[in-house]
């Protein structure tokens, strides 16, 4: 509930700055990839909500965990029921900012290196995140990309010993979002 109100507050704050340079998508793509000795597991989510406010650098994204699609039904079941417990914690949220947002020039096409800093909430655990990525400006649109690793134990996600060789303890997360200017 607290997180919810923070998000709402942030959204309200960013909406407050009139003519905000706000870019949004509802079809961002997040992929996660686990490379363990016995098995490679990958899952995709194509309905990621994300917003970037270029006047403040404020950056959020939000995913529904049940929307992650796996090749094998069994893995999807285990992911939802045993690991992220999506009935109890239906979403994962990132709330933070692009720290060097002032370097981004929306009028100038090109690929910009960015640093993203904030808090990631997953499985009821909130942790600071500081990662690098790129934002490509192309004809007034933004294409954000980032790849980072996430240690499952940090988010109190435990992998039972029996499948310890099937699931990696560190998961690679790739984020790929196309942001369009919001029509406000």
């Amino acid at each position: 509930m607290q997180i919810k109100s923070i998000i709402i507050a942030c959204l309200l704050l960013s909406a407050g700055s009139v003519n905000a340079q706000k870019f949004i998508t509802k079809t961002g793509h997040i992929r996660f990839y686990s490379d363990a000795p016995l098995e490679k597991i990958e899952a995709h989510n194509h309905q990621v909500n994300s917003a970037l406010d270029l006047s403040t650098g404020g950056f959020v994204f939000k995913v529904l965990l049940k929307s992650f699609e796996f090749e094998k039904a069994l893995m999807q079941e285990h992911f939802n029921e045993n690991y992220v417990e999506s009935d109890k914690y239906p979403t994962a949220t990132f709330l933070g900012k692009v720290t060097n947002f002032k370097d981004l020039d929306i009028a100038k096409d090109g690929v910009y290196d960015v640093t993203v800093e904030g808090k990631l909430t997953l499985h009821g655990v909130t942790r600071p995140v500081n990662e690098k990525g790129t934002i490509e400006v192309k004809q007034g649109k933004l294409h954000g990309k980032a790849r980072f690793n996430l240690v499952l134990a940090d988010y109190k996600i435990s992998i039972p010993g029996a499948v310890g060789n099937n699931i990696s303890k560190t998961i690679e997360i790739s984020v790929d979002i196309n942001l369009d200017k919001a029509n406000m």
Binding site: K4, I24, S67
Partner: protein, 168 residues
């Protein structure tokens, strides 16, 4: 013809194996029996547990049948209750289509009920690939019936995945 004779050879072989089996000593029978049972269990486990198919959402029976606006309002009024009730369920929705959105290979039927910081808010139904063409031909403002798997509410929209269209 060739396939037929192959089948015949195979059947004869099996009969021979069974004949031999009958004349074996009991302990060998037990060992072989256990071995075969183990193989069978491994095969069944692999096929039906490890490799089990994703649910057939197109033909699944819907747990709830309702109007799109009712589902949206349920999440909007009390997200926690609605999540407990509808997340992970197959739901059939009827309503007036607002628009069809495409993103990469996705086709999404959207019911819009509200405006917020993320623009339109409502219900977003991602089509199964086989319904992409049919969904792309839908006209905004037309009444549609769509069935899909509800994955929850992300503060702006209710998301349905693996959606199929039901012809009225």
């Amino acid at each position: 013809m060739k396939i037929y004779s192959l089948k015949l050879v195979f059947i004869l072989l099996i009969i021979k194996v069974i004949e031999n089996y009958i004349h074996m000593k009991t302990w060998i029978k037990v060992v072989i029996g256990l071995f075969v049972a183990g193989l069978l269990a491994a095969f069944l486990g692999y096929t039906f547990i490890y490799n089990k198919q994703h649910p057939d959402y197109e033909n699944a029976e819907a747990a709830f049948t309702m109007t799109a606006v009712d589902l949206y309002q349920a999440f909007k009024n009390n997200a926690a209750n609605a999540s407990a009730q509808y997340n992970g369920q197959v739901i059939t929705l009827a309503g007036k289509l607002s628009k069809i959105e495409t993103a990469d290979s996705l086709v999404i039927a959207v019911f819009v009920f509200n405006q917020g910081d993320f623009g339109d808010e409502g219900i977003r139904c991602t089509m199964m690939k086989k319904f992409n063409d049919e969904a792309n031909r839908l006209q905004p403002d037309g009444e549609i019936i769509v069935k899909g798997y509800c994955t929850g509410f992300n503060e702006t929209d209710v998301i349905l995945e693996k959606c199929s269209l039901i012809n009225q």
